[in-house]
Symmetry: C2
Subunit: 347 residues, 2 copies
């Protein structure tokens, strides 16, 4: 491994500077990514290991980020569990035309066999790892059971999440049945990703924050903890990113994950004080700041470095995915600012 700053930071080991990568760093803001997408649709890109590897590596070569994250989508999991998935350009996001609405629908959902049904992701990981040749670590990922269940029951992104919430409040046992299947599937999937070459994995709980604290603990975090436990034997860093869940940082840390992903709504210094020195922290610049002037981007990077303070265990990232129309120069300034300004905080 030539650059292992990211893995060291996951383990809270000493590094000479803060490592940095960006959620959704292989994405539309890169002209090189758009060039690949002009020739292929989104799902074909996900399902073609050579192309997925190509776009995964683009930000490593163009921006010199400190980690690669495999190009894929969280919704390939429900598809591999038996749901039809449709991704149309400019149609307002991916959707499941037959969302889970009855007990029978949920009974019919199969536990995932990742080596059979998501071989294309595992192949993409192996191939990417080979091409990366140790330049930077490779991250695998999955949606959390709760976030996947939300999409599977709603059928698409939602404003109010009426159907999944009706399920958990009216039929909590059936909701738990679905979440249990998903937790077992996600654990198998992440284990398979690690076997295929992922050197760290991130669990994305994009929709944990729509719940009350109690419901978040019962329907989301409980299952994330099960997955973290299942992955302990692999000795691979697990990053848990629960968006809009600043109310439960201690409980997220208590799952035993190696790092907590922070959105921008919580001050990273406050978070560090709350969590203590057990868990690394990844984050947390508001992705919209990347629209600003480069000097302002650098200023905001420095503010976050100061808030985190001296010492190890910080992986710099945005608080959510990079937006599709960010100028590449601004993304570069973000990466470079972290690399240059963070040295002073690692004496």
């Amino acid at each position: 491994m030539i650059n292992d700053l990211f893995l060291k930071a996951c383990h809270r080991q000493h590094t000479y500077r803060t490592p940095v990568w960006m959620m959704r760093q292989a994405g539309r803001y890169l002209p090189e990514y758009r060039a690949v997408r002009e020739k292929t649709d989104f799902l074909t890109l996900c399902k073609t290991p050579e192309l997925a590897a190509e776009v995964t590596i683009q930000p490593v070569e163009i921006l010199s980020v400190d980690a690669a994250i495999i190009f894929s989508d969280i919704l390939v999991v429900p598809e591999a569990m038996g749901m039809e998935l449709i991704v149309e350009e400019g149609s307002g996001g991916p959707r499941f035309p037959h969302p889970l609405r009855t007990t029978n629908d949920i009974d019919n959902i199969q536990i995932l066999d990742p080596t059979k049904k998501l071989k294309f992701v595992l192949d993409a990981l192996s191939l990417t790892k080979k091409i990366l040749a140790g330049r930077v670590p490779l991250i695998g990922f999955s949606g959390s059971p709760w976030t996947l269940a939300s999409y599977m029951v709603e059928g698409h992104g939602s404003k109010n999440f009426r159907f999944i919430k009706e399920l958990i409040y009216n039929e909590p046992k059936i909701a738990h049945k679905l979440l249990d299947k998903l937790a077992r599937s996600v654990a198998l999937y992440l284990k398979a990703q690690i076997e295929a070459g992922a050197q760290a994995v991130q669990i994305f709980d994009t929709w944990g924050g729509i719940l009350t604290q109690d419901a978040f603990h019962e329907f989301s975090l409980y299952y994330i903890e099960q997955i973290v436990n299942e992955l302990k034997s692999t000795d691979t860093p697990v990053i848990v990113f629960c968006k809009d869940c600043g109310h439960s940082l201690n409980k997220i840390s208590a799952t035993g994950c190696h790092a907590i992903g922070l959105d921008w709504s919580i001050d990273i210094g406050t978070a560090r004080n709350l969590i203590g020195d057990t868990t690394a922290i990844q984050g947390n610049m508001d992705p919209v700041i990347l629209y600003s002037k480069p000097e302002r981007i650098r200023y905001e990077v420095i503010q976050i470095l100061k808030k985190y303070g001296n010492g190890n265990g910080h992986i710099f990232n945005l608080g959510h995915g990079i937006l599709p129309d960010i100028p590449v120069d601004h993304a570069k300034e973000f990466i470079n600012a972290v690399k240059e300004e963070s040295i002073a905080f690692h004496s």
Copy 2:
């Protein structure tokens, strides 16, 4: 005043039970409201005091809520400050076709003269107060300067709030110029509402939660505090509702407001411990729970009452507005459950 439970709770005085009302309680879920709307468009309803008074009083008569909130919209303020506002049915919400994008646009915005430009709101308040005849207190409201500025700069609701964030990060002085005009306007507006009959006022900061903590303090809460200060001489309860700002409850309380509105993401018991006994708390049931079975609605009401615990200073409400397709019977069950179950917590 026949029922002053709400006002007493704002002042943290003893009541025999917890008062309850719902944000957006005069709305589409009521057939009686839809009947009025069939004959008139949204803005005409806002601007016709007789009709606004009629729908304001509907939930008092149909659901026996403990407070009325004047039917209006936060976006009448930017319109009254010189911006064209368009509200079309089913078009994805209200919008300003000429959003503020230049320094010149912002310079052209006029400080609000509420008695001249929003006389229809003041007339609606006076008329409603007269018709209510003391049955329940009447609440006035305004959007916060930050939330109004977000709409004025974006032109409509937004997912990423690119333009308002570009303004605060690239041109903070110009952003402050706009926010200062808005703070002065909102203070004048709420004072005029109080003079017209409002017995409490609520400041809605719907978009405070899209900011980092620092930016929230600088661009939103600072101006809310100015308004609260301006209203102190009126001796009228001020409720501050900053959605998704659970990270700053202490700072919101420190504005000197009488009550803090809580969304459902924060446990109300945790919030009470954090805030202490200086400020009343309004909230905080997830509005989506009203889709559930009546017995589950009652169960969730009891959970929130237990979390708040014994004593005064709690105004029960939803954590956001009631949704347009909630069955009226479910809303009734919510109101009745609060009234019946809360007595035990006021010994």
